[in-house]
Structure formats: C-alpha cells, structure tokens
C-alpha cells in the first residue's frame, strides 16, 4: 500500500487532460439547463465536432479552421435541438437521443465516404493539430522528468506541456460564473429556467433567451469535441467521445448546476478516467491488482453512487424540460 501513489504527477497530469473536455461539455450543459432546456445531446455534439475538426484540420492543414468547422457543426445540432424543443415544443430528451444517434451514425458514414479508412480520419500532425505548449525551462523527456525533484516534476509535467485549449479553460470557469451571476444576461438566463412566465411578463423574449443558451451550449460542446480529436488525440476514431457527454451530464447534476462545483466534479471524473488508464499506479496505491474491466466501469459506477444521493438532493432548474407556451 502506498496511498501517496494516488497523487502521482502523471495521473494528475492526465486528470487535467481528460478533465478539460468534461469541463467544457459540463459548462455547455450548464448554460442550456439553467435556461430550462435539458440536453442529453452533449455526447453527439462533441462527437460531430471531433469528427469535423479532425477532418477539416487534415484537409486544410490548419487546426484553427478545423476548430471553427467543429464548433459550427456542433452549433447546427444545437439549433436543431432548439428547433425541436423551443419552437416545436417537442420532448427534449427524445431530441437529445436523436442527436446522439445521428452524430454516431453520420460521423462514420461521412468519414468512410471522405477518407475511406473505415470510419476514421487519417492521423494529424504538425499544424493540423494543437501542439503542446512547453513552458521555459520545462523538461520534456520522460527520463529527465522521472529523475527531477517534485517542484520540477509538477512544473514540467502538470503545468507545462498542455494545449492552448487547456490553458484557456483556466479562464472559463470564472467567466461562466461572472456571466451567470453578475450580468443582466445571466440573471435573465437563470430566470428563464426557473420561471419563464415571469421573464415573459417583464417583456423579455423567452425564446430568444433559450436559443442563446442553446447556441452557447453548442459552442462549448464544439470546443470539447475539437479538443478530443485535435488536442488530446491526433485524429478522429468512431465513438471517440465514449460516453463523455453523459459523464459531463452526471457531473452537472453532481455540481448542482453551479460553475465552480462543475470544475470540481469534472476534475474528479477526469481523475477517475486518468486512473483507469494507469492500472499500475492503482495497484501500487492499494496493493491489489485490479481487472481492467473494473477500471472501465469505475467512472460509471461512481457516477451512479454519486447520483444515488451522496451529494444531497440535487434540484434541477424548475422549468427544466418543459416547453414554454406564450399566452395569447
């Protein structure tokens, strides 16, 4: 038993890498659900963004164009969700399910037609991918890092060497908090998720507020997906989101729809995912060898345990999931 192994720098580094897409998707869901639109389509939006970001990056050689394409695709699916759940007052859960299946199917069909490599994009390299940014003086070779002392390890492995999206994410949580709690837009957004009738009475368009929320959700999901295929990995493979959209939703409930808590929740789930790909470290920490399948299931098992109520009662926005019908 070596409980300190739980704080292995490599695992913490993995936590950041794997936590970032969860955080972006979780905040995406936060905007949408705070405005009263349930969104279980985070998964599909991330997936289609991951695919188009990789496809366009490869074709044009520019990761930024890829990013834009990915975000656009995600926003289009968001608008579809808005059309179904805001304009046509359809069932928001069913719309989300449809979006997830659509993304799951169309990415493989399109990737096959585009690249003919069995539903994946070719590997990305160079400017077609977000390179990791090395801090001055940071060690880059694994052998050097292993020999370094703790502050240098933290500096070189945990702090240095991430992509631009990860560093931008440091700013995003305070930004979301600020828009949500300190701006007029945020006040209205939260009101529209709790009591749309009151917002309407105040002369503010419920539809416009909800569409804005859904579009923001699309942009953030798009960033999360693009990061998966062009930052975390070098290319798109089928089903590469692997349930991250759903884990982000679970994190959102865990965080009770609040931004700082969302950071904590997504980093916890990111940590579990990081631990799952390093069975050797888990073995060192608890002294028993764990089956890889147990580790595969672990994030989902813990999500259920968390949802089962070790977080107190999570109360969703009151008007969540219900379409608003304007009185005439």
């Amino acid at each position: 038993m070596d409980l300190l192994a739980f704080f292995d720098i490599a695992v913490l580094d993995g936590t950041v890498r794997l936590g970032v897409p969860l955080l972006l998707a979780c905040l995406a869901g936060l905007y949408s659900e705070r405005a009263g639109i349930f969104d279980i389509g985070l998964e599909g939006k991330m997936l289609i963004a991951a695919f188009l970001a990789a496809g366009v990056s490869f074709t044009t050689g520019s990761v930024w164009l890829g990013l834009i394409a990915g975000v656009l695709a995600s926003v289009i699916l968001s608008l579809l969700h808005g059309l179904a759940s805001i304009t046509f007052r359809g069932n928001q859960l069913i719309s989300g399910v449809a979006i997830n299946f659509f993304a799951s199917g169309i990415t493989v069909v399109a990737a096959q037609a585009w690249f003919g490599e069995g539903g994946r994009t070719p590997s990305l390299s160079g400017a077609a991918r977000f390179e990791s940014i090395q801090f001055p003086g940071a060690l880059t070779r694994i052998r050097d890092i292993a020999k370094a002392d703790l502050p240098m390890k933290v500096y070189s492995e945990l702090l240095s060497g991430h992509t631009i999206i990860v560093y931008l994410c440091i700013l995003i949580v305070p930004f979301v908090w600020w828009t949500l709690y300190r701006t007029r837009f945020g006040l209205r957004l939260r009101a529209v998720g709790e009591n749309p009738g009151a917002v309407d009475t105040a002369g503010i368009s419920v539809y416009r507020m909800r569409y804005s929320a859904v579009i923001i959700c699309g942009v953030l999901c798009g960033l999360a997906g693009a990061y998966l295929s062009t930052g975390l990995q070098a290319g798109f493979v089928r089903e590469m989101t692997a349930g991250r959209g759903y884990i982000a939703l679970a994190a959102l409930i865990f965080a009770k729809w609040r931004p700082w808590q969302a950071l904590g929740a997504t980093m916890l789930f990111g940590y579990l995912q990081a631990l799952a790909i390093r069975p050797d470290i888990l073995e060192r920490a608890i002294g028993i060898r764990v089956q890889t399948q147990v580790l595969d299931a672990l994030p989902y098992v813990l999500t259920v345990i968390v949802l089962a109520g070790f977080v107190g009662k999570a109360i969703p926005p009151r008007a969540g999931g219900e379409a608003y019908v304007k009185e005439r």
């Binding site: 659509f102 069909v109 539903g119 949802l307």
Partner: protein, 364 residues
C-alpha cells in the same frame, strides 16, 4: 376539442414523419455519392428478396419487438428507459447461465427456464435505476445510460474469464443440442409451408408476438395498466387518486427491463446458441425508435419492428454491395426518432390547422 380525426393522428402524422426521415436519408446517400433509388432497391431486395433474407429480417424484427415493447411499457409510466441495451446484454447473461449450468432435457423446458432467467436478469439490471428514480429522484435517463456502460465491461470480464469457452474468442461454449430452439423453417414446415432454413428466425418470434398481446392486455385491460397510464398522464392526479408512484415506477421498469432481457431468447438461445460479446448489436437503442414510431402501442410496435428489420437487414446488403457503412442505419434510426418523436409538432401543427380550416368550411 379534437382538432383532427383519429385516423389522421394514428396514420397520417407518423407516415408523413417517416416520409420526411426518408427524404433526409436520401439526401445523405446522395451526398456520399450514391443513388438513393438504387440503394432502396438493394435494401428491399436484400431484406425481402427470398425466404432466407426474410428470415433475417424477421430475426431482427423479433429483437426490436422485445426492445420496442420494453421502451413502450416504461414510457406509459413516463419513464424514458434508454437502458434497453444494457438490460438486453444482462438478459443474455441470464439466458446463457441457465442454459449452460442446468441440463434442460428438452427445448421447451429450456425456453421456459432460459426465458425466465433472461427476464429476471434484465429486470434486475433495470431495478437499481428504477429504485433510484423512485426513492432518490436520480434521473432515470442518466442512470440507465450509466448501466449500459457498466454492462459491457461486466460481460467483457465474464466472457474473457469465468464463463469463457476454450479458444481465442470471448464467448461461452455452445448450449447442448437438446436446447436448440426450432427455426422458422421447422415451425412453418409443420403446417405445410416451405421456408428456407438458412436464416436465423426462430421460435422466439412467436414469443415476441405473445409479448405484444401481453403488453396490450397489461396496459389497456388491467388495473395496473390503468394506474400506470394515469401516473404517466399526471403524477399529481394519480397520487390524489391513491396511486403509489414508487410502486408504479418500480413495476413498469421491472417489466420493461424484463422485456428487454427476453430479447436473449431470440439472439442468444435462438440464433447464436451461446453468448458472444457483442450479442445485442444496438437493438436496445433501436427499440427507442421502434416505440416512438409505433406510438407505444403493440400493434404499432410490431409494424415498426418489421420496418426496422427490413432496414437493418437491407442495411447489411447495402454495406456489402455499395460499401456504405452499416452506421447508415443508425442515421436513419436517428432521423425516425427525430421526426416521429422530437419534431412531432412540426408535422402535426400544419395538419391540425388544415383540418380545422376544412372543418369550418364544412360547418358553414
């Protein structure tokens, strides 16, 4: 006031939704460089061309009847069970354990024993999400999705360890010869109809049809079904009438999980005659589309399941002949869910307006 006649609600709206889904699918096929009319021809021929193909179509339809009914029963209690996939995986485990470790002397007994085990295992996999929804308010959609993601590693572990047969493949040994269910060719042969024995359709089809009757009777002819529908319509009104939400949620979800699990009669006991790793092949998810398209009624589900059987078998031919990936079926499935489920009002509202307009003219 009823805005349009019943036939328009039951037939016209779903058919128009399907036409929209078909148009978008055709555009997708066009966009990847194939002729949609040719593709349709290949699909129909591949699904219905000869009796071996029909057998495959019916085999898939049998899967979808079970999973479609599973979604529908839960839906009547306003529970959205997305966990049919995982429940069908675990149902397969139940059926396999029953057939591997109990020496049933005859297939009829194996059918009962394996079927019950499949239903119990499927229901058990739905029980925890149901309990959490009823008692703790954890959203059933999220928890059933999590249980889907847990089912796969569990089977992966078991099929690579404790119940693995010899050899490389992650699968159980084959069930004993005496337990094999008769295939459709044998059943139809008994009444003098000749039918190819090269397809996988089997006795499970008859169980699926019985399940349709069971669900119809349960939902529309029993007190429990009445309470379930009342609860699904309005939880507050149901509570006021003395209906216990916990009881309804638990029973509806257990039946739902049991039906999804019983799919194993078809794919595990009827077809593979052993348990393989990816036995369910997404049928649990297609159940969602089938239930939505069938308006959660057994008759509608039967028709929708056959349609998806055609789509699924035809899709296999499509990938063989035109090299369009099988995921094209997932796209079509998504479009069906979108148009018949989420965008229902987009189709319905203009039709309602039309009927109201014409109705007024008739009255004048």
């Amino acid at each position: 006031m009823q805005k349009m006649p019943n036939w328009a609600d039951v037939v016209l709206v779903p058919v128009l939704s399907l036409v929209l889904a078909a148009i978008i699918s055709a555009i997708v096929i066009l966009a990847i460089g194939h002729n949609p009319i040719d593709a349709l021809g290949i699909m129909v021929k591949g699904a219905l061309g000869n009796s071996a193909n029909v057998s495959y179509t019916l085999y898939y339809a049998t899967n979808f009847i079970f999973t479609g009914l599973a979604v529908a029963v839960a839906y009547h209690a306003r529970m959205f069970n997305i966990g049919g996939e995982g429940q069908a995986y675990i149902g397969g485990l139940g059926a396999a354990l029953a057939c591997l470790y109990i020496p049933w002397p005859h297939w009829t007994l194996a059918l009962i024993g394996g079927g019950v085990a499949a239903a119990v295992f499927g229901a058990a996999w739905a029980a925890i999400p149901a309990y959490l929804q009823a008692k703790r308010g954890s959203h059933i959609v999220i928890t059933t999705i999590m249980f889907n993601y847990m089912a796969y590693p569990l089977l992966n572990f078991l099929l690579n360890g404790p119940i693995k047969a010899g050899g490389m493949e992650p699968a159980t040994p084959s069930f004993a010869e005496a337990m094999h269910l008769p295939n459709l060719s044998a059943i139809l042969g008994a009444v003098g109809i000749s039918f190819s024995d090269r397809g996988p359709a089997n006795f499970a089809l008859i169980i699926a049809l019985l399940a349709c009757v069971f669900v119809w009777a349960l939902i529309w002819k029993t007190k429990l079904g009445y309470e379930t529908r009342a609860f699904g319509q309005s939880e507050t009104a149901a509570k006021y009438a003395g209906i216990k939400p916990t009881k309804i949620i638990m029973i509806a979800m257990l039946i739902s999980g049991g039906l999804a699990g019983m799919m194993a009669i078809n794919n595990v006991m009827g077809e593979a005659e052993r348990l393989v790793l990816n036995a369910v092949e997404g049928a649990g998810f297609i159940g969602i589309a089938v239930a939505l398209m069938g308006r959660n009624h057994p008759v509608g589900i039967l028709i929708a399941a056959i349609l998806f059987g055609i789509l699924y078998q035809g899709g296999a031919e499509l990938s063989a002949e035109l090299r369009i990936p099988r995921e094209m079926v997932t796209v079509i499935q998504a479009l069906v869910i979108l148009f018949t489920g989420a965008l229902d009002n987009m189709v319905r509202m203009p039709i309602e307006k039309l009927f109201v307009a014409f109705g007024r003219k008739g009255a004048n």
